[in-house]
């Protein structure tokens, strides 16, 4: 069975609010599926439906070939999850919280607690009550609870929330390793494309409950807009030369002073042969002092995608 997580026409309506709208997803074995969207896009509602915590208004979801419902208990042996900010029992220590998860998941191997604390660097905090943990360590404890039973499927809602940069890298490497070495299938939600793009093999972008883009990492690379950025002394004259040669050129200006900053060309021909533009300018007596190819930043791509789908990132 290749398809590990799938949804078909998944829809959830709360009163008049359409939280998830006809969402169909497919996540295959060993994939790290980045589930992206701004806050309130419907990511958490989708995850709750995948975990049987919320019933869909219509549509279905499957994990490991089994249709999800609140009663599908055996299935959760193979699924680890985080929904929103993880919380633990405040009066219990880190070790005790993990021991409780172990017992509820029927894990008899007691060394598993030490193993997962080692993986998540929680050993130092083993005897600290959960209420005294920092946000980052509380997040680590949440991830530890999701991984302690070595699940085949991980469904993680914003797992990097509250982690410091070092922690983000550690968790990213841990998840990559699980997918690569153990074939664990991971669905990970985030509102940050840069974070997701560093580990995801596939990406889906959701906005206002609707899937607006689904692509793999290779395709994402191709979809990022590229521009040839050119600088020089007389930018107006350089723009004129380039335009006369048949290229479309845009001049970026400083917002406050309207002073020209650089010239940008998006033509495929110019991007493939930047030396032709340089020759053109040199021959016209306007040698450039800056030539570089600039790739669209991931956040800009994310916002552009949402806008192209008729949405507003800030809505």
């Amino acid at each position: 069975m290749n398809e590990v997580i799938s949804t078909t026409g998944l829809t959830k309506v709360y009163g008049r609010v359409l939280a998830v709208n006809d969402l169909s997803l497919s996540v295959k074995k060993g994939e790290i599926f980045g589930f992206l969207g701004p806050n309130g896009a419907g990511k958490t509602t989708t995850i709750r439906m995948l975990l049987g915590m919320v019933s869909p208004t219509s549509g279905r979801c499957f994990v490991l070939g089994k249709r999800i419902s609140a009663g599908s208990t055996a299935l959760w042996n193979d699924v680890g999850y985080i929904v929103e900010t993880p919380h633990s029992y405040p009066e219990l220590t880190v070790r005790e919280n993990l021991e409780i998860v172990c017992s509820l998941r029927g894990i008899e191997n007691k060394s598993r607690v030490e193993w997962i604390m080692g993986k998540l660097k929680l050993n130092r905090y083993a005897c600290i009550k959960a209420r005294h943990l920092s946000t980052g360590n509380a997040q680590r404890l949440g991830i530890a609870k999701a991984l302690i039973h070595r699940p085949k499927v991980l469904i993680l809602d914003e797992p990097a929330n509250g982690l410091d940069p070092e922690g983000i890298i550690e968790v990213r490497e841990l998840l990559r390793g699980l997918a690569k070495d153990f074939g664990v299938t991971i669905l990970v939600s985030s509102h940050r494309l840069d974070e997701i793009s560093r580990m995801a093999t596939n990406i889906a972008i959701i906005h206002q409950g609707r899937l607006i883009k689904e692509l793999d990492a290779k395709r994402l690379e191709q979809e990022l807009k590229k521009s040839l950025v050119i600088g020089g002394k007389d930018k107006a004259a350089m723009a004129s030369v380039i335009t006369k040669a048949g290229y479309k050129v845009k001049m970026s200006r400083e917002v406050a002073t309207d002073i020209p900053l650089d010239l940008r060309i998006d033509d495929k021909d110019a991007l493939e042969n930047p030396e032709a533009i340089v020759t053109l300018l040199v021959n016209a007596g306007h040698p450039p002092n800056l030539v570089r190819i600039e790739k669209e930043d991931l956040e800009a791509y994310f916002i552009r995608t949402i806008k192209e789908a008729g949405g507003n990132y800030y809505e």
Binding site: R48, G52, M53, A70, T73, N77, H87, Y89, E91, L104
Partner: protein, 260 residues
């Protein structure tokens, strides 16, 4: 190991590491001491005169003897138990929502029904322990105060009434759990508990207490006078139906309601 038992052990760990057992134990300790204090006053009328308002209240208990004293304990557990046992149930269920740990219990290899059952089992076990503690401590306090008229038959009868009242009161904690689950925390069940305690007094005063589940334990304890301390089968059935409503309602809520 049975799933409900596994979950019960986990619930015990969470419960006994919290302050709730201590708080509820301290709350019930007061009951026998207050009863003993009343008996002491009743035994010594001169001291009762000096006590002013407290002695006036103490006279309500009647005479200083073991039947009155044991009746007082049964009344206290019937009325006070609604609050204390209700608090235990509201904490065991409501804390999962207040501490936002509920989501960790919803997608486990253990069914939600087993988890709910284990929580109810803990409510039952702890409330039985509290009740037993009140009765045993009550016996010690009664002996220390040297209440007259102790006899095996009296103790046996007092114990029977006390056990019945305790069990009826414990059974009524299931709707509190339902309110804690629907209200997602402590506030709704507290409001519900206060509402039922107040309403129980009004309904009992109106003469319909035997039909109102939250009045039944107090009536069975003789709170409305020893003549009224007759437990009708219909009243027991009403309490059982109310308890089943709370139990099944909570299970259905955990099973079918959206857990956002």
């Amino acid at each position: 190991m049975n799933n409900t038992f596994i979950s019960f052990l986990a619930e015990c760990k969470k419960f006994f590491r919290s302050k709730v057992p201590l708080v509820t134990m301290l709350a019930v300790i007061i009951i026998p001491f207050i009863g003993g204090f009343f008996m002491l006053i009743l035994k010594d009328p001169k001291l009762a005169q000096r006590m002013g308002i407290i002695s006036a209240k103490a006279q309500i208990m009647g005479t200083a003897d073991w039947p009155s004293y044991l009746g007082l304990l049964a009344q206290a557990v019937s009325i006070g138990g609604l609050i204390i046992f209700g608090f235990v149930a509201s904490w065991i269920f409501g804390r999962e929502y207040s501490d936002r740990t509920i989501k960790d219990l919803l997608a486990l290899p253990i069914s939600r029904s087993s988890i709910v059952m284990s929580k109810f089992l803990l409510v039952f076990v702890w409330c039985v322990i509290l009740s037993a503690f009140v009765f045993v401590l009550g016996l010690v306090v009664g002996d220390v105060v040297d209440i007259p008229g102790k006899g095996e038959g009296i103790l046996q009868e007092g114990l029977t009434v006390f056990v019945v009242c305790s069990l009826l009161t414990i059974l009524l904690s299931t709707p509190v759990a339902l309110f804690a689950s629907i209200g997602r925390g402590y506030l709704s069940p507290f409001g519900f508990m206060i509402f039922t305690v107040v309403l129980a007094q009004i309904v009992a005063a109106a003469g319909y207490g035997h039909l109102f589940p939250w009045s039944v334990p107090a009536l069975a304890s003789g709170a409305a006078g020893s003549d009224a301390a007759v437990l009708e089968t219909a009243s027991v059935i009403i309490v059982l139906i109310t308890s089943m409503f709370g139990l099944i309602g909570t299970m259905l809520w955990w099973r079918y309601a959206d857990q956002n």
